[in-house]
Amino acid sequence: MDSIIEGFKKAFILIFNLNTELLGIIFLSLKVSGSALLVSAVIGIPLSAILGLKKFPAKGFVISLMNTFMGLPPVVVGLFVYILLSRSGPLGFMGLLYTPSAMVIAQTILALPIVVSLCHSAIVGVDPIIKQASMTLGATPFQTTITIIKEARYGIMSGVIAAFGRVMAEVGAILIVGGNIAGYTRVVTTTIALETDKGNFELALALGIILLTISLLINVVLHFIQKKGMVK
């Protein structure tokens, strides 16, 4: 119990005396997870629209596959990306292993199925009347799709938020492909893992509290944007 109270105390002290090292770690977390989220949104939202609106063979299978991949174990993804990016692997010539870019790749793989699955549900859930109405009004198939995506934005946002939660909290994959190098690939979650290993429980807990606080702030902002879009 003492450790928990100590952890909260330490978290406050850390927040009030933000040093550059901690700031760097927090910013890197946001950069890596933010980039992974952006990439998976850019790929995932159009993909979910295709899955939701187009008819093609094996569509059901692709959807089941995406749903399964929502539960990908991060360690397995990390190992897969490691082997891919290793100097002895097929993409080794790019020299990406143990860089922030490798972490973005791993987290994108983790985030993409969540974005696709949840956005697909949102798009399928849009009232068919919208589609019929826009087509009646002379919209091209592309314009119709855009209209439906706009209509599903609330659910799409939920998908993006869920994916954000997944990647911000993730440690298994980025530890393997990032290597937890001080000042270079060390993010909040890998720091927590390291400090736990070192037995600095209070510091690790304090970092956990900081991570949750940041996530909360971002979620409040996203919710605010989402709600404003809804009311209109």
């Binding site: 946001l30 950069k31 952006l38 080794g92 143990y98 706009k150 937890n180 190098i181 290993d197 037995g199």
Partner: protein, 278 residues
């Protein structure tokens, strides 16, 4: 009705783009080399102490990836590091022989110790030989926690079992945890078990982790823990920064590097590593 929605939607994207400012690229003016090493060197604080001194002198930044000895050697073999700094001499020499590494040097040592519950239920303290102590633990079916992760410590432990012709795997008293040294110590503490640890980790963590354990056996020559450094063979992996890696290795075994290692102390003023480069 839709117009407001669109701008809001774009707002989200803008927000996300803002959150991913350009990454610092690895190929900036500063030279970096990557050193695959073990958790024991990182967690003891040795690297935090010696690396800034080397980096300042040589202008080469050393990025440390701290994993188990087995993984560190594997990372080096695959060409994912420039230099490997571990403690499993036999494995290292084997990898050198296979042509994966060159210029292996002894750097420093500390020793392994057997630790156990403070009341030492098996009276291991009366024994002087680590092999005899292991035998007693196995014969008494008393809990023993093993790293079980192919680390240097694990390798040492296995070599002792092998000497005894005992195969501990699968026995109920033998707990393979597959974790780092400090976590393994904590598990041994919780389980009231014996375990093999390195003195550096033990000294650095026993008070912090409030371990109710004591050293029950030390000083047996078999428990000698040699650390070595070696460069990834540039003929196997053309991209490695061999020149910079050698600069690091040569500094480690130089008078100055050896002196720096000797002057590294934990917060209780214990010297954790004894330099012994030839």
């Amino acid at each position: 009705m839709f117009k407001g929605g669109i701008t809001k939607f774009r707002g989200i994207f803008l927000l996300m783009i803002l959150s991913c400012v350009f990454f610092p690229s690895a190929s900036s003016a500063e030279t970096r080399i990557r050193c695959a090493s073990t958790t024991s060197t990182q967690n003891s604080g040795l690297f935090d102490y010696i690396l800034p001194i080397f980096e300042k002198k040589a202008g080469i930044k050393v990025d440390v990836v701290a994993v188990g000895t087995g993984a560190a050697i594997e990372i080096g073999k695959r060409g994912d590091a420039d230099v490997v700094f571990v403690h499993a001499k036999e494995q290292e020499l084997k990898a050198v022989q296979e042509g994966y590494f060159v210029n292996r040097h002894d750097v420093m040592y500390n020793d392994f110790v057997i630790i156990g519950p403070a009341n030492d239920p098996l009276k291991i303290k009366a024994i002087k030989s680590a092999t005899e102590a292991f035998k007693k633990i196995a014969e008494s079916n008393y809990p023993f926690v093993s790293r079980g992760d192919k680390s240097g410590t694990h390798t040492k432990e296995l070599s002792i079992w092998k000497k005894l012709v005992i195969e501990p795997e699968g026995h109920k008293w033998y707990l393979e945890v597959g974790q780092g040294m400090e976590k393994t110590q904590r598990i041994a503490n919780e389980k009231r078990a014996y375990t093999l640890t390195d003195r550096g980790t033990w000294l650095a963590t026993k008070d912090k982790d409030r371990l109710e354990m004591i050293i029950v056996l030390e000083g047996d020559p078999i428990l000698f823990n040699q650390y070595g450094v070696m460069a990834v063979n540039p003929q196997k992996h053309k991209h490695v920064k061999y020149k910079e890696a050698m600069e690091f290795i040569n500094w480690l075994i130089s008078k100055e590097g050896q002196h720096t290692i000797a002057s590294f102390k934990d917060k209780d003023r214990n010297q954790l590593f004894i330099p012994n480069a030839k």
